[in-house]
Symmetry: C2
Subunit: 281 residues, 2 copies
């Protein structure tokens, strides 16, 4: 499923990132759906119940659910878009696989805030899946995830609000250094909890922005210190690939969402090419 959703991070470039991700992904022979997302028109975000673009995000989450239900698949690959694209796929997989499902959340951030803490809903999605947050969104998750079968991986730091919520929800997490050379802690969790089916949320920002450029933190033209205090990823792409391959050998990987792809240089190049005189003729 392609979901070029950009409103959850209020950043139009997520839409382009999703399209390019689809071009990069290998061919497949399953059905494919693309959730319709309005193009950004430069208008300022409408806010409802403390959430920017709230109505559009809810409508897109419902459209994603309907797209999934049309096929009732065994497995879902979701190409985002902002992190909130994983609401409908995770909700579907939770209903389908119940207590057999584990959720691995590869992310530099826990995504557990709510409108009280932050107006960008891409930072709410994991809490919503556990039943905490805006009621219209949690209503899209008929079977909430069980915190024991959720693991955040690759997260080094979090803020005070997040700390309280993580404790309240009882979500565990593993820092990036532990996973750099070993998949063992994840494999142990899978075994201990009896997980046979796994859905992976791969927020690309779990990667170190010094070694992987298409990330929010590499947005060009930002003033010095613009991202101060926001946790940045520490993992390497090949570490994540190794982790997912080793896990995939132990469990049935039934879900994968890739989110927060922001290929700035490709976007600049595309826009530049479109401006050149000979390209227009």
């Amino acid at each position: 499923m392609n979901m070029p959703q950009w409103q959850g991070g209020d950043e139009p470039a997520y839409s382009f990132g999703s399209e390019l991700l689809r071009w990069l992904a290998p061919p497949h022979d399953g059905p494919e759906e693309t959730v319709a997302v309005p193009e950004p028109d430069g208008s300022s975000p409408p806010v409802s119940r403390g959430i920017k673009w709230c109505a559009a995000l809810l409508s897109q989450a419902r459209a994603a659910r309907e797209a999934i239900e049309r096929h009732a698949p065994d497995r879902i690959v979701t190409l985002g878009g902002d992190c909130l694209v994983d609401l409908a796929p995770m909700a579907y997989l939770s209903r389908r696989y119940g207590e057999k499902l584990g959720v691995l959340w590869l992310d530099a951030h826990p995504d557990v805030m709510s409108a009280a803490e932050f107006s960008h809903a891409h930072a709410h999605v994991l809490a919503l899946l556990l039943g905490r947050g805006d009621e219209a969104f949690t209503a899209e998750v008929p079977r909430k995830l069980d915190a024991r079968r959720v693991m955040i991986a690759g997260m080094q730091g979090w803020n005070a609000d997040e700390d309280l919520i993580l404790k309240e929800l009882g979500i565990r997490h593993i820092p990036p250094a532990v996973l750099a050379d070993s998949s063992r802690p994840i494999l142990d969790w899978i075994e201990t909890e009896g997980i046979t089916h796994l859905a992976v949320h791969f927020d690309l920002d779990v990667l170190d922005p010094a070694h992987f450029s298409p990330l929010l933190f590499n947005r060009p033209g930002m003033p010095e210190g613009a991202f101060d205090g926001i946790e940045q990823g520490r993992m390497q792409l090949d570490q994540v690939v190794r982790l997912l391959k080793e896990i995939g050998a132990a469990v049935d990987m039934v879900g994968l969402a890739i989110a927060e792809h922001l290929p700035w240089d490709m976007l600049r190049l595309r826009n530049s090419l479109a401006e050149l005189p000979i390209m227009k003729s």
Copy 2:
């Protein structure tokens, strides 16, 4: 014309760079040709007359000429691939427009060496167009360019071999600092030489690798100092766009080749996605 040629720089990633450039380029309504280029198979490069992959490069240059001649176009956009992709398009435009044609060579390097100095033919192409270098390649240029109507732009430094050849051929050049805020020197050259039709060679490595990532110099995993002594670009993408737009208002832009696109992060991401368990099912 798409030309995923990689042998001129002996770097398989040029092929991927060309495919992605095509995806990024705006839609057009002219005919489109893709020159067939064998996939790299990891074998070591055969060398003839001091040129790596010489036979393949010559065969591809001829295939490009034939592809162009099938349509006899007024204008050609070429998406490379290494810099040598511009041999056939420039040779065709030189024959078609004769003394009305100017050639603007946007590049951090002069591309004027020959097999005596360097075995990678992507560094030979401008000299070949002026009639200097391997005879099988210069034979592909029935009407040589006139050095007065060639201008290298954005070049800050060059080596001793290149210095001698630039003087021998009489090619002029303008450093990047002069063009950062003004297109005037190029516009003056166009006017003085009576140029009415312009072909542009845009080697992306004219751009500063600190501000634009998909360049050779940002190849991941290179040892410290691997590119010492090799001139790197200093221009900004928006400066090049401004330059080409201002020039395009003064002259008929009949050729544009974009070369040396090496989007490393996109290549790594594509290869990583293809390795993930759920993507294979």
